[in-house]
Symmetry: C2
Subunit: 176 residues, 2 copies
């Protein structure tokens, strides 16, 4: 029988949520796991995330949904973002069916929920229907209580100090 | 003039400190940074950390000091561990002189301090004498106040839920 895969959540307002998930991917790849990394609300065309390139070179499959977020694109229709997120949900379900991956990372999915692009039931459905052996990793601020209840491992990353607070801007190689 | 590198600390008792540092390394490598990853109190012979192998394949230099910790090796002489940690400190100073790296990660160095193998002045000296452009990343539980004061970015990873609490053991590909 395959080992039971757990559900992780990395939430909170401190730096380290996405990087913790990426680090997990690296560790898993080091043991021969097959990993998919799926990001939401991130726009590589705008920021050029360094991690995506490296993940691909080590054999992690990288996918993105709802890349643009109204926070950056004021004219964006929230219904469009919801549609994109739902497309992401259907894509994840298709991956569940293939059962090709040992670990799937849903980066910033907690934001889709927090900002109302997905309903709690929709996210919880993705958590509850995962294949038994799959390690599922969710990140993003503001994880809701029901979702936390549904997870096996939850780390809340608290911001004690952040250079943004003293006026340092987003830095290439560090924030993206 | 080179960009000022910051000092990060990832501390707290939740899962995600080492993985956050590894994720940072991946992101940095994606932008062409040269990264050194130096671990303390970890014994790859015992655990076979998946991340070390992958870091090496993407060009990160990996080093280890004071690999054995008295927590696992009861007969170990703490003076020996201190000597090993000091060797690590001298090694880091030699890397500062070469100025070959854009990012140096000191994984679990907060443990060396917490468990008395290094003095606060010794760790703070390593923080204060870093080359201006270097991004320095420290991890480990129980970061002391003086060290936190010395850092630019501090994230405390709080354990909300951890599978160890419900009896799940360390799992290959996830914990190491």
């Amino acid at each position: 029988m395959t080992r039971k895969g757990l559900i992780h959540i990395y939430t909170g307002d401190g730096k380290g949520k996405t990087t913790a998930a990426i680090g997990l991917a690296i560790r898993a790849v080091g043991h021969g796991f097959k990993v998919a990394y799926i990001y939401f609300h991130k726009d590589p065309k705008r920021w050029g995330y360094g991690e995506h390139k490296v993940l691909r070179t080590i054999g992690v499959d990288v996918f993105g949904f709802a890349r643009r977020h109204p926070h950056f694109y004021k004219k964006l229709n929230p219904d469009e973002v919801r549609k994109e997120c739902l497309k992401g949900m259907r894509f994840i379900e298709s991956l569940y069916k293939n059962n090709k991956y040992n670990m799937i990372i849903l980066d910033e999915l907690m934001i889709s929920l927090r900002d109302g692009f997905l309903k709690k039931e929709e996210v919880m459905n993705i958590m509850k229907t995962k294949p038994r052996g799959l390690e599922l990793v969710l990140t993003g601020r503001g994880a809701k209580r029901g979702v936390v209840r549904c997870a096996d491992l939850v780390s809340k990353i608290e911001k004690i100090k952040h250079p943004y607070d003293s006026g340092v801007q987003r830095r290439v190689g560090i924030e993206y």
